[in-house]
């Protein structure tokens, strides 16, 4: 089984080799993200070192206070040593706190910048991936990548990273300080490392599995949530609530159990470290006590040794916490890096020469298209559409009209053969240039949150208010827009619920109108319009299409009437092709279809 890209996203167990491959790609991604910040990282690390060193000095100074300052004061009435020590203690305290505050700020800024970059990458990649990918990878999954996975990573970066560096340094400094005060105690510490490593190895394996499960279940939860909230009307009208509720509750329970297990694994690891710590402290204390009695060790030194040994285990717990969030974050990073590894099947050329459509000639040479091998949607065909022509695609549902339109709009690339626009292979044209030249308007007219005017401007971002209004007038949308509460500034809310399907299509037409492309493709773009609106659109289209290439897919043959040429498609093949008037006079499929439509007007 493959683990490339998003494949294997729902699996919990991988072979050693797969695990390694996944880990390599996750770490590679992390490295790329961290690299631009390495200078700031360096400074942050230095501040962490400074702060930690100052903190480590604390117990040492207290030990000196008791061993040197106290006898001097008690025996000689000399307070100078203790004053010096107290001043030093204050100085280290303030620098420890100051550096702590500074590195906290820095590390949060760095981690937020890294997260921001990752969010941007995922977003950009989402936009780059082909529609083919989006048709199988649900929106809920992408939302899960962008929300809960990023959050998990955020926990690691904001808290964990400074934990890691500070913890490791604290560990080293403490060990050094301990050995310098009392080398034999250092031996005890070294021995303690053995069980620590063993417990950590166990934790690493156990938690990886649990965190992976937790990511999978959290994604499933998000997918169902998004789906049922988006389809709430259908949920309500068909009383699907109980079914959905039960399904959601089952997913919540899976997620709960996975979460419980991740916490439980850590719940064993954490006290296990505590046990090792306690036993080490006891050993150091026991050994130290006898040496104090022998007179080979000062009481103050013993206190310092005990405090240091205790402190040694403090950062180990921090490191455990870090490791915990690292495990959690790496399973999120696995999913994200897999998503980013997906290659779009429609690739933008690396260094495209600039392109500007002139005539709008579209030529398909020996083109074939299949979603999967051996299952052709469009068997091999050739087609030439002269610039300026208005071509209607006619045929039953599922005949392949939309697929042909999507090939021309380069939503897909042909499996075989070459598509050209004004003689340039589509695959060699840069996306920005291509989209300026070719626009596809679909039946599903999606409105984004924001104002009506914003939505129209999607067609031309720098359009003036006058241009927006002119476009709306041209397609007959002006009247309904001005009747809205805030006219062009009306917020369309979620999914344009207050705006009817027909009105959405009008807005979508405004977009196409204002975009003013060389080639316009309309895929059932008028299906929801009422007849007067359609009539307006028809006359607007006639003006609009006069000097550009147009491909129109419409079940309503009224729209077809404005075409110069008709292509009848059946089972992925072009079965009739000719000027509209000519085909009408014949007795072919188009003539039959047209008759049926005429009858439907009754």
């Amino acid at each position: 089984m493959s683990t490339t890209g998003v494949a294997g996203e729902d699996r919990q167990d991988f072979t050693t080799r797969e695990n390694k491959a996944i880990r390599v790609r996750s770490i590679a991604l992390l490295r790329v993200l961290v690299r631009p910040h390495r200078v700031r990282f360096g400074w942050t690390a230095i501040m962490i070192v400074a702060s930690t060193a100052a903190q480590v000095a604390g117990p040492l100074l207290i030990a000196w206070g008791i061993d040197i300052g106290l006898p001097a004061a008690v025996d000689d009435g000399n307070f100078a040593p203790i004053l010096t020590i107290v001043v030093a203690f204050l100085a280290t305290g303030i620098s420890a706190a100051g550096f702590l505050a500074a590195y906290t700020r820095w590390s949060i800024a760095i981690s937020q910048d890294i997260l921001g970059e990752l969010r941007r990458r995922i977003f950009e990649h989402t936009q780059r991936l082909s529609l083919e990918f989006h048709e199988r990878y649900t929106s809920g999954r992408i939302i899960a990548r962008q929300t809960s996975d990023i959050d998990t990573l955020g926990e690691l970066l904001s808290g964990g990273l400074s934990n890691l560096v500070a913890g490791l340094l604290f560990l080293v400094f403490t060990a050094v300080a301990l050995v310098s005060i009392d080398p034999p105690s250092g031996v005890a510490l070294a021995v303690a490392l053995i069980p620590i490593v063993a417990v950590t190895w166990w934790f690493s394996n156990a938690s990886r599995r649990e965190f992976r499960a937790s990511r999978i279940y959290s994604t499933r939860l998000i997918i169902q949530f998004v789906e049922s909230m988006a389809g709430i009307r259908a949920v309500k009208s068909f009383r699907r609530e109980p079914v959905d509720r039960a399904a959601y509750a089952a997913k919540v329970e899976d997620y709960r159990e996975a979460t419980r297990r991740t916490i439980h694994v850590f719940g064993i690891y954490d006290p296990a470290l505590k046990v090792i710590g306690t036993l080490t402290v006891a050993a150091v204390l026991l050994f130290g006590s006898f040496r104090v009695i022998d007179g080979t060790l000062e009481v103050g030194a013993l206190l310092a040794v005990v405090l240091y040994t205790r402190r040694f285990f403090g950062p180990i717990e921090d490191l455990a916490m870090f490791y915990n969030s690292f495990q959690s974050a790496s399973s999120a990073l696995e999913k994200i890096s897999g998503f980013l590894e997906e290659r779009p099947s429609v690739v933008e050329p690396a260094n495209p020469a600039p392109f500007e459509a002139s005539r709008g000639d579209i030529v398909a040479t020996d083109v074939a298209f299949a979603y999967s091998a051996g299952n052709p949607v469009l068997p091999k065909f050739s087609l030439s559409i002269a610039g300026g022509q208005t071509v209607a695609l006619v045929g039953a549902t599922g005949a392949g009209k939309s697929t042909l339109a999507k090939l021309i709009a380069r939503f897909y690339d042909p499996t075989d053969g070459v598509m050209t626009l004004d003689g340039r292979n589509l695959t060699t044209i840069g996306d920005v240039d291509f989209r300026r030249a070719v626009t596809l308007v679909t039946q599903e007219a999606y409105l984004f949150s924001g104002s009506i005017a914003d939505n129209i401007r999607l067609g031309k971002t720098d359009a003036t208010d006058d241009e927006v209004m002119a476009a709306a007038r041209a397609v007959g949308a002006h009247d309904f827009i001005t009747a809205l509460p805030d006219g062009y500034d009306t917020d369309v809310n979620k999914r344009g619920s207050r705006i009817s399907a027909g009105q959405r299509q009008l807005v979508s037409f405004c977009r196409a109108f204002i975009a003013n492309p060389r080639v316009l493709i309309l895929d059932e773009a008028t299906a929801s319009l009422d007849i007067p609106s359609e009539r307006l659109i028809q006359s607007a289209l006639q003006k609009l299409l006069k000097d550009r290439t147009a491909i129109i897919i419409a079940h309503r043959l009224s729209t077809v009437a404005i075409a110069d040429r008709v292509l009848v498609i059946d089972g992925g093949r072009i079965v009739e092709d000719g000027p509209t008037a000519e085909l009408l006079k014949g007795s072919g499929r188009f003539a039959t279809l047209h008759r049926a439509w005429r009858d439907s007007l009754a």
């Binding site: 117990p59 207290i62 008791i66 300052g69 106290l70 203690f89 420890a96 100051g98 702590l100 949060i108 997260l115 921001g116 969010r119 977003f123 048709e135 649900t138 992408i142 929300t147 809960s148 959050d151 904001s158 997918i223 949530f225 049922s228 909230m229 709430i232 009307r233 309500k236 009208s237 919540v252 329970e253 419980r260 719940g267 954490d270 006290p271 505590k274 710590g277 026991l286 006590s289 009695i293 206190l303 039953a396 308007v441 984004f448 949150s449 971002t461 979620k494 619920s497 207050r498 979508s508 299906a527 929801s528 319009l529 007849i531 609106s533 009539r535 404005i562 009408l584 279809l593 439907s600």
Partner: protein, 615 residues
């Protein structure tokens, strides 16, 4: 950009917030209390270690009796082991209760959201909802099972520790306390600043989630216009705002961290100086001084953790506010307390002076429906014709109470629809929408969605219903799908074309076998041949079923016995298609074909036929 700030309830205090969780906790609250108690015990054990140390230093180490070293060290080891045991027990105690409360809240939010009226969902983007139902709930769980427990445990440990400091040296303890006072000042300053930031950040991330959702759902539009980069920069703008809020939060935490680190150090320095002086005066033994600092060292952990725990608490609190923002929305469309059980089930549907105005509409905006009166007889099919945006879709959503009328009433078999239970009402009225929503499920389950009665029925019976519905809707293509009617469709399954989806949605409405069928332009995505076949089959169903059909085309109108013309929020005329054609200019304008349109294509046949057809 629309945020929901304006609608937020004022932030509740931590206690009130906690009290609101209680109903979800049930008996699990005992687990949390046990966790707090155990955390207190483990802190107390940790504080016992310095006491044992003092005994060691002032006892055997002074040379009293070297053999006593063994029990003293043994005691210290034992205390440590018990501390570890109690840490484990604390985790075990809160583990299941914490996750169970989390689950209950998740389920409750989901239920509540499902019950909230469509008008609520029109206004709230699902990104915002998701960030509350997922992220904020997770935050709450971490706070409940870690933050709250540790905060209580640590606070008591700090009090206890200070009490122990008093036993070693009252003067030093008082000095330590006085020096610690500024911590409270900085703590409360932090609290004020952080609360606002945390709420703003959470709202912002909700908006970011909405951006993501829209960019995925609208990807075809963005792709066709090549607007990926623009949407990216809008998204980046929102995300950068979120980042800035997070950085501000981090800075607030850093400032608090500074004081929490520095003030105890300052206090310890003062104590060291005074302690040495006291010892020099003979008022303090070395062992006591030793123990004082060992206790203070144990205290350092809990004091430092207060900053993190406080931040966690404040975040959880504002997350909780956001969660309760949702719970506080009342479900305005509910079953009545005493629903009427209808005696007759003929299926007459009557609109009586029905008004509808969108929620939050201004005073000067007229009602979308402004006094609609319409009677649909049992078994009759009524088409609704009206200009784009005339309120047809709202009209169709009212009988099944997806929205409630804002004036007048709707009667189903002479009973106000608001007097029926929602379940009864929605069993009796089935709908097919123009934008067909299919769920991630099998074809079979999607089509039989409305037939809860068939869940336990024999397969043969449900198969028959399924086959009939699919045949009427001309949706037999599903038998050619990879797994036939058991093929997974919807977002997580096979993607279907618009026409295919629409036919399945129609099949779903037919399979529900309702008394009243409401169809909102159900055939718009079908090609002419398919539409003709569907209509022929549909006619049989409609001959016995009351139906309300939104129509844009003459062909759809032909399904109806009568036609209602919706104009300016009112029913302007009711009659048969030919009556209306004869009497209403508006109707002719709306429904007649494109005959009066100047056609560039010089095909006389077409225009001629058009002229004739609209007679």
């Amino acid at each position: 950009m629309p945020t929901v700030d304006a609608e937020s309830t004022p932030p509740a205090g931590a206690i009130r917030g906690l009290a609101r969780i209680l109903p979800f906790a049930g008996r699990d609250v005992y687990g949390l209390i046990a966790g707090m108690a155990i955390s207190l015990i483990s802190s107390a054990l940790a504080l016992g270690i310095p006491i044992a140390l003092e005994a060691l230093v002032d006892g055997p180490l002074r040379g009293d009796d070297p053999t006593l070293v063994w029990p003293a060290v043994g005691l210290i080891a034992l205390l440590g082991l018990f501390e570890a045991l109690f840490i484990y027990l604390r985790r075990v105690a809160v583990l299941t209760p914490g996750t169970r409360i989390d689950s209950r809240i998740r389920n409750a939010i989901y239920d509540h959201l499902q019950n909230l009226p469509v008008a609520f969902h029109d206004k709230w983007q699902s990104g915002q909802l998701l960030s509350r139902a997922h992220t904020d709930v997770g935050l709450m769980r971490r706070w409940l099972s870690y933050g709250a427990v540790m905060l209580v445990g640590n606070s008591i440990a700090i009090v206890l520790g200070i009490a122990i400091l008093f036993t070693w040296s009252p003067i030093l303890a008082i000095l330590f306390l006085i020096c610690s006072i500024p911590m409270f000042v900085f703590g409360s300053r932090f609290r004020n600043r952080f609360t606002g930031l945390s709420r703003a950040a959470q709202d912002q991330w909700g908006d970011v989630a909405t951006s993501v959702e829209e960019s995925v759902h609208g990807i075809r539009v963005l792709r066709s216009f090549g607007r990926g980069n623009d949407s990216l920069s809008r998204f980046a703008e929102r995300a950068t705002h979120g980042r800035n809020l997070e950085v501000a939060k981090g800075n607030a935490r850093a400032t608090l961290g500074f004081w929490l680190e520095w003030i105890p150090d300052f206090a310890l320095a003062a104590c060291l100086l005074v302690g040495v002086w006291l010892a020099s005066q003979g008022d303090l033994t070395t062992g006591q001084l030793f123990a004082f600092f060992a206790t203070a060292a144990v205290l350092a952990g809990p004091i430092e953790s207060v900053g993190y725990l406080l931040a966690l608490t404040l975040e959880a609190q504002s997350g909780l506010d956001r969660i309760f923002d949702i719970f506080d929305r009342d479900n305005t469309i509910t079953s009545p307390a005493a629903p009427i059980v209808p005696k007759t089930s003929a299926g007459s549907l009557v609109f009586e002076d029905v008004h509808y105005r969108h929620e939050g509409g201004d005073g000067d905006v007229r009602d979308v429906l402004n006094g609609v009166s319409l009677e649909i007889l049992p078994g009759e099919t009524m088409a609704v014709v009206g200009a784009t945006g005339s309120g047809k879709t709202v009209l169709t959503a009212l009988p099944a109470r997806l929205y409630d009328v804002t004036g007048g009433r709707i009667l189903l078999d002479r009973v106000d629809v608001r007097d029926l239970s929602l379940d009864t009402l929605r069993t009796r009225i089935a709908m097919a929408f123009e934008d067909a929503t299919l769920f991630s499920d099998t074809v079979r389950n999607n089509v039989l969605l409305g037939r809860h009665d068939l869940v336990d029925a024999p397969a043969s019976e449900s198969d028959a219903v399924l086959a009939q519905a699919l045949s009427i809707a001309e949706a037999e293509f599903v038998y050619d799908l990879p797994d036939g009617v058991d093929t997974m469709i919807g977002e997580q399954g096979l993607s279907l074309s618009g026409g295919q989806r629409q036919r399945l949605a129609l099949a779903r409405a037919i399979a529900a076998a309702p008394e009243v069928l409401v169809l909102d332009d159900p055939l718009s995505a079908l090609d002419v041949e398919t539409e003709a076949r569907v209509e022929a089959a549909l006619r049989k169903v409609l001959s016995t079923t009351t139906a309300l059909v939104v129509a844009h085309r003459p062909s759809t109108v032909m399904l109806a016995d009568r036609v209602a013309l919706l104009d300016n929020g009112r029913i302007a005329a009711v009659g048969t298609h030919s009556e209306l054609l004869a009497t209403s200019a508006t109707y002719r304008h709306l429904i007649s074909s494109l005959s009066d349109e100047p056609i560039d294509v010089d095909d006389e046949g077409v225009s001629h036929e058009h002229d004739r057809s609209c007679g």
